[in-house]
């Protein structure tokens, strides 16, 4: 475990050395996600200036939810972006074989190989939105609240990761996993807003099937003081289950790759 942590650190340092060479590219990449978020946020702000309530949710409450999902998304974006490109960059070209002849876990190698700096933009946006909205809502940043936020963010990131792992493994069969991944991933956009604005079916989809709701809505509701019972604490469990399933699916994918080869 320790060895892998050290190793990841080294991969990260090397990656930053490369990124620093392309400094402008680095800045543009990191800020590109910010700009895209700005369009969406600006829309929300413009609308809610005139209509202070989104079906019962105030601007800052909406921003809290938006910020939480953006932060969770960014964690996965930064550390596990290679799942998107595994088909095109690694399997199709045969570069994946290299991972199989090195004495480290191939999934670890795949993920460590590329820290994605684009995600930094989303990380900043998400963090700023959360802090800003919490303060505007007079929710104190107590130790327990901060801890809750930390767990929520990490769980949210893990939910994104687990789902991506499940869908990304399809690359072993389809060569390009991106269409399949997008079919699941794009559903997180629902969770940018309070789940109560959607019909029940969508709420159920985003809670129990593609549980992005645990990355934003449920933690936000808890912090806002809504009564939710155990839903407020479910996020880490959901995340763990998804990651475990994801890893099992990944192993199946690996077996398929070695069984039939390409």
């Amino acid at each position: 475990m320790l060895r892998y942590t050290n190793l990841y650190g080294l991969f990260l340092i090397q990656r930053f050395k490369i990124l620093m060479e392309y400094r402008v590219n680095f800045l543009i990449g990191a800020s590109s996600t910010i700009i895209l978020q700005m369009a969406g946020l600006l829309t929300i702000w413009v609308v809610m200036r005139q209509v202070p309530s989104l079906n019962g949710w105030s601007l800052h409450e909406v921003l809290l939810i938006y910020g939480l999902i953006t932060l969770s998304k960014s964690l996965n974006h930064m550390f596990a972006d290679n799942l998107w490109t595994i088909g095109r960059q690694y399997i199709r070209s045969g570069a994946f074989d290299r991972f199989l002849v090195r004495p480290i876990n191939p999934l670890f190698h795949l993920l460590a190989d590329r820290f994605c700096h684009d995600g930094i933009g989303n990380f900043l946006v998400g963090s700023v939105l959360i802090v800003y909205s919490l303060r505007a809502l007079d929710i104190p940043l107590t130790i327990s609240n901060l801890l809750y936020l930390l767990v929520a963010a990490l769980s949210g990131g893990a939910i994104f990761f687990g789902l991506n792992l499940i869908t990304g493994t399809s690359a072993f069969w389809l060569m390009d996993a991106v269409p399949v991944m997008r079919l699941v991933f794009d559903n997180h956009l629902f969770a940018q807003y309070p789940l109560t604005i959607y019909p029940r079916a969508i709420g159920i989809l985003l809670t129990w099937l593609i549980p992005y709701g645990f990355a934003s809505f449920y933690p936000a509701s808890y912090l806002l003081g809504h009564h939710m019972g155990w839903l407020a604490w479910l996020a880490p469990f959901v995340a763990t289950v998804l990651v475990v399933i994801g890893y099992r699916v990944w192993k199946i994918g690996l077996r398929h790759y070695s069984g039939t080869g390409s």
């Binding site: 090397q14 045969g94 074989d97 199989l100 002849v101 090195r102 039939t260």
Partner: protein
Amino acid sequence: MSIIQTEDLTKIYRLNQKDPGVTGAIKALVRPRHRDLVAVDQISFTVAAGEMVGYIGVNGAGKSTTIKLLTGILVPTNGKVEVLGRDPHRQRVDNARQIGVVFGQRTQLWWDLALIESLNLIAKIYEIESSRYQFLLEQFSTSLGIKELLPIPIRNMSLGQKMRAELAAALIHEPQIVYLDEPTIGLDLIVKERIRDFIKQQNREKGTTVILTTHDLGDIEELCQRVIIIDKGKLIYDGPINTIKDRFGKFRTITFETCEPITQIKLPPGAEIITPDRHSEERKLALRFDRTITTASRVAAEVMNQVEVVDFSITEPDLPSIVKQIYGGALQGD
């Protein structure tokens, strides 16, 4: 003592046959069709520690698949493979520690990193002890000449520099076996020589076992005492290099292009006309001569004395023709 052992090693690919487009995809779901491709067909051989084995065959013969089976990337459909007493797939990590692989066209180094940074990362991955690592870096700097290359990223290297860097990366953790898949492809002679010398040195000093797949017969001649020839997945020859050299290495082919069609021609001893193909043109004459008996100039002179020659070319025996001849029983009764 054998460190690599294969027994009836077989790999069959099941290829799904699919028409293009969306209708094809639906058809494939409803009624899937496939055909089986036997890439490796019951191949058995053993390799002893310290051997340098050439593994040759034409494109598509099954060389890469065999390497992937030996390195644990693929699982055999049938048969067994054992490397250093392990199943290379089941005990992937342990096996990986002991092997080095060079995939000719695909580099293992990080594209944008300086070579030294790549090597540092590799050293960490393979847990090379740091003083040993420094010592080896020094050693490789001289024997492979990579000292000047250390600060250069791979993307800026020439093909020859890349290959030298690649070899350093593959051998820096001192593996017991190294698999070289087409390592000299596209390189000029000087670089090839350097690389061949380095490989020989590693084998000599450290007893590294070398499995070399290549099209280049020069590589085979220089490095390997033993060759295994595979064609269409089957092993068709496994034996000392000398037999091959004696049988084929001494031949050369000269193809003449003449002004008029040739009716009769007298040839010096050691030369013979290669049976023309069905589509032979009358103005082309292909001869094969034995270098140990006669020379190119003597043959050419003889021919040019008798007919007017417009152009001619000399070729070394190439792998496809050797394989064809082996199939034709050329090695039986030797």
